[in-house]
Amino acid sequence: MLEVQNLSMRFGGLLAVDQVSLDVQEHEIVSIIGPNGAGKTTVFNCMSGFYKPSGGKILFRGQEIQGKPDYRISRLGLVRTFQHVRLFGRMTVVENLMVAQHRHLNTNLLSGLVATPNYRAREQKALDRASYWLERVGLMEMANREAGNLAYGQQRRLEIARCMVTEPQLLMLDEPAAGLNPAETRDLDQLIISLKEDYNVSVVLIEHDMSLVMGISDRINVISQGRPLASGTPDEIRNNDDVIKAYLGEA
């Protein structure tokens, strides 16, 4: 469903991403790994429209999306989370989820002001979807708290729930396990698999936690210093000499 072809991104003199290609099929979890500063987040930023790539193509269901504005890409069903959690901190947890469903709501000002039946029905449906996902990620008790006051792990889960209420087709997670304790990481593991199995979402995952990556990925792409280093199934990657060298070199 998603195909990235020879993607390059240059910042001044720095070629942060150099000829990276990857593809994601329906119903698949694909990981991107690589040492710090390898250019993983930059690939995400190009895919989600935050950066206009200097070269290459990104196709989503056959449609070229590189260089499109970010909010349009998101409306196509490609939604992401951030390496550093980005919530609407002074809004409540439910409100965070309502904002995300903007597209499913009746945004006509007049219908809203007089609260037409259509407006109210859609608002209610959005609330139901919000409570469903709050339940799903275990944040129901926090529904009316300000998002900024949640614990770190809860914020991470809320960010994923916020993506899911938009009913995406492809979810991009940038280091979702960073800062989580082992128990939380295990829950996350289950959640990501369930997203794929139960909600029919494909996932692109950036992650440093190797056991998580090896455990749930269908395929893995390794990049190092902006260049593609290897790609394949977890087993192939585990035994790849280049990958081992790159990771040992880093350590």
Binding site: D70, Y71, F82, R86, T92, A100, H102
Partner: protein, 424 residues
């Protein structure tokens, strides 16, 4: 133990105080015949300046200690330790309070002096302005320093329409508001990409451009001389003047067979302003809970996250500017009608600053807070007429104190609690 650094800083501040206040307050211009001479002020002023410099010195020297103490003085802040009420109880109390308040506001003008009613009308105009600016600054987080421009557009629209085409208040009210909204939209486009300080500077410039335009486009706007003879609103075609000005109209006092009184008009205007202010408050309150209101806040909280979820920055920002400007246009029309005469002097930067101060004092985003602050900021200076020279000084001091005690404003915004049904 006070560090040497603090001592140096305190000395510096005291000297600056002296240097500034000496020429401003210590010297006086006196006209002696045709000559103007410079004279020293009386000894009392000198003592005052000395005391002020000493106060600044001591304050700066023990600054940390003093501010720390002030922050700890919770007793000065009666709301500090109170537990928040459950939402249902609070909402009930609030709606009862509000209804009482509105009923009181409806009856009140019939029992007080004309001057008080006039002042109350002004307060209501400021409430409308502040509620509108609250959308832009408090909710959408866009620092707009030129808000007065939209107020001017509303006022001048009515003045010009009535002068050239004899259009009445009721016709001009929506036209003025819509035209102001259009200006909001037009200003919104070029500043879409700007944020923070840059946005503030551009909007400030926009406000000045409008004022300068009004000042210099003499053959249309009358320039600094302004426009007079703006008609009062009519009630179903009834005029409130002693004599009927427009053909086909009748006068209010004759229709009802009562004696003419100038108060009728003042009270009528007050009631119009009250209705419009309540309308403004209700509409914006509703907007805040609609998708558009949530989008404003989301954009204020985190623009990148908002965009990653499919919100278009353009749409959200423009809607905030446009809707904010719309209500300023409303307020402008009422203002023009109340004054009967307008000139660019009513739309200077200071007005923008005052409206902004109301929003900040009230607690960004909170409507009740904004209303309270509007009342305080408009009425207190009137009560302290004797100190009118020190008005801005007191105003500034109040702002500083607020920032120390309650940086979140008088009544910070409280989030609505939403009941969710569990399980599907």
């Amino acid at each position: 133990m006070v560090a040497a650094h603090n001592l140096k800083h305190a000395l510096f501040c005291a000297v600056i105080t002296l240097v500034i206040s000496w020429p401003i307050m210590g010297l006086k211009l006196e006209a002696v015949g045709t000559q103007i001479t410079l004279q020293g002020a009386d000894p009392f002023t000198w003592i005052a300046i000395g005391v002020a410099a000493l106060a600044v010195f001591l304050f700066q020297l023990f600054r940390e200690a003093i501010l720390g103490r002030l922050g700890m003085l919770k007793s000065l802040n009666p709301m500090a330790d109170r537990k928040p009420m459950p939402q249902e109880k609070r909402l009930k109390l609030e709606s009862i309070g509000l209804t009482l308040l509105i009923v009181l506001a409806l009856i009140w003008p019939f029992f007080v002096s004309r001057g008080s009613v006039d002042l109350a009308t002004l307060v209501l105009i400021y409430i409308m302005l502040a509620l509108g600016l609250n959308v832009v600054v408090g909710l959408a987080g866009l620092l707009d320093l030129g808000y007065v421009a939209f107020y001017a557009v509303g006022a001048y629209t009515f003045a010009l329409l009535s002068q050239y085409w004899g259009i009445s208040f009721w016709m001009a009210l929506p036209i003025g508001a819509l035209l102001a909204a259009l200006f909001g939209l037009v200003l919104g486009f070029p500043v879409l990409r700007l944020r923070g300080d840059y946005l503030a500077i551009v909007t400030l410039g926009f406000g000045e451009i409008i004022r300068i335009l009004l000042n210099n486009w003499t053959n249309v706007t009358g320039g600094p001389n302004g426009i007079g003879g703006i008609p009062d609103p009519t009630l179903f075609g009834m005029e409130f003047g002693r004599r009927v000005k427009e053909e086909g109209n009748v006068s209010f006092h004759e229709t009802f067979g009562i004696a003419y009184s100038g108060e009728h008009k003042v009270i009528f205007l007050y009631l119009i302003a009250l209705v419009l202010a309540v309308f403004t408050g209700l509409v914006i309150r509703r907007l805040m809970r609609m998708p558009v209101g949530r989008a404003w806040e989301a954009l204020r909280e985190d623009e990148i996250a908002a965009r990653s979820l499919g919100l278009s920055r353009t749409g959200v920002k423009l809607s905030a500017f446009t809707i904010g400007a719309f209500f300023a246009g409303f307020a402008g029309t009422v203002f023009a009608s109340k004054q009967g005469f307008i000139s660019p002097e009513s739309f200077v930067f200071l007005e923008s600053a005052i409206i902004l101060a109301i929003v900040v004092l009230g607690g960004m985003g909170s409507q009740m807070g904004v209303i309270l602050a509007a009342i305080a900021v408009t009425i207190l200076p009137e009560l302290a007429r004797e100190f009118s020279e020190y008005r801005m000084l007191i105003f500034g001091a109040a702002m500083v104190l607020m920032m120390v005690w309650r940086p979140q404003g008088l009544l910070p915004m409280r989030r609505r609690q939403i009941k969710l049904s569990t399980g599907e």
